[in-house]
């Protein structure tokens, strides 16, 4: 519980047995009273056992569904168990749980979906070449769609309020880049308010980022395609019917922070 709200931190994890203890300990120390759910995405190491040993809730997917699949599961779990806030966080330790209160504050005051963004002032995360162009393109288009300045659209550090959780539990793109780009475009197109909060990224405690220019160019092409599809795809009616908390609050200001 934080401010009387049930908060769930979802950590999609694929073979993260080495990185999990550190991040789980850190969450327990910095954010007491917050639940964590490790979604073991078909790991071949002891990810699930480690997560359970460190006091986290654990869900084991029977086979690998990818980050998007694991997150979709996370939102379905949060919706089924009636959480007020769901926070997505990487299990490799690059997101600092100390920023969670900042995300929650932004969520309480003015947004349905808050993104912890690199490049927004804090930290020293640098990218160049086609990958940087891809990020620029995504940032420009998504900022337009969401009608707010978004600098880091592929961030895996996000917080959602209750209607947003419900929305994502019914509709969450699971393909590569769909989980970051398309999910945001869909939310914005259905009237959910997206805001960002600057965060500093830490070095990953495990794994290395890819830096090949060919891969970066393919990334640019795929990002463009995903973006195009996201903009023209029709949203299902049952999903469009979910009312964002920010809209409810605008109609009834006394409810701010209560939905």
């Amino acid at each position: 519980m934080i401010d009387g709200k049930r908060v769930l931190i979802i950590l999609p994890a694929w073979n993260e047995a080495d990185g999990l203890p550190k991040i789980l300990r850190e969450i327990q120390q910095k954010l007491p009273g917050v639940d964590t759910l490790v979604v073991d995405d078909g790991s071949t190491d002891s990810t699930a056992a480690v997560a359970a040993a460190y006091g986290s809730k654990v869900a084991q997917l029977p086979y690998n569904l990818g980050v998007g699949g694991a997150m979709r599961f996370g939102y379905r779990y949060a919706h089924l168990h009636d959480y007020d806030v769901a926070i997505q966080c990487d299990a490799d330790g690059q997101h600092d749980p100390a920023y969670v209160p900042a995300l929650l504050e932004k969520l309480r005051s003015e947004a349905d979906l808050v993104i912890g963004a690199r490049f927004a002032g804090e930290g020293s995360y640098k990218v160049r070449g086609p990958r940087a162009w891809a990020m620029k393109l995504l940032s420009v288009v998504l900022s337009r769609v969401a009608k707010t300045r978004l600098t880091d659209t592929t961030s895996g550090f996000k917080a959602c309020n209750k209607p947003m959780i419900e929305f994502f539990s019914h509709w969450y793109p699971v393909e590569y880049l769909g989980d970051t780009i398309e999910s945001m475009v869909g939310a914005a197109r259905c009237g959910f308010v997206i805001r960002q909060v600057p965060v500093a990224m830490r070095e990953r405690t495990t794994g290395t980022p890819s830096a090949s220019p060919i891969k970066a160019t393919i990334y640019l092409a795929r990002a463009g395609l995903v973006l195009l599809l996201a903009l023209i795809r029709r949203m299902p009616a049952n999903v469009k019917a979910i009312e964002p908390a920010t809209r409810t609050a605008a109609r009834r200001p006394e409810l701010i922070g209560k939905v």
Binding site: P21, L37, A49, A52, Q60, L61, P62, L65, L80
Partner: protein, 142 residues
């Protein structure tokens, strides 16, 4: 003049032999798959229909010549080729659609299995699979 005519007639007979054998084989194969219950009814109807159209065309490749000419296609064989290509294309698109749907369904099932396992692990001591090696001791690792 007469000679070329004879050659043409012979080549048409040869073509008929090839296509009729193929047509019959395809039809027999489809019927056999149906008999062994390897094809679901919706596909069975589709392929059976195709088989029934293809088989007589195999015996008489010129059957569609007049229809083809009316449609502005030079010969019935070209028309069958075109229609066949179109059909295969449509079937491919249909199969892509079908696998997408199946994938979405199995995904939901996988999620539901994980959901129930998580519930059972939390409330009913359902064991969490240990795939890695070595003991896990929170105090030592932390």
């Amino acid at each position: 003049m007469c000679l070329t005519h004879a050659r043409k007639a012979r080549s048409i007979v040869q073509l008929s032999v090839l296509t009729s054998i193929t047509g019959v084989l395809v039809l027999v194969w489809i019927l056999e798959l149906l008999r062994r219950q390897q094809l679901r009814e919706k596909y069975a109807a589709l392929w059976l229909g195709i088989g029934l159209v293809v088989a007589p065309l195999g015996f008489f490749p010129r059957l569609l010549d007049s229809t083809a000419r009316r449609l502005g296609v030079a010969s019935g064989v070209s028309l069958v080729l075109f229609a066949g290509f179109l059909l295969v294309l449509l079937v491919c698109v249909h199969l892509s659609w079908e696998t997408s749907r199946l994938e979405a369904e199995t995904r939901t099932l996988a999620e539901d299995v994980a959901m129930m396992r998580a519930h059972l692990a939390e409330h009913h001591d359902f064991p969490i699979a240990r795939t890695g090696n070595g003991a896990i001791d929170p105090e030592v690792k932390a």
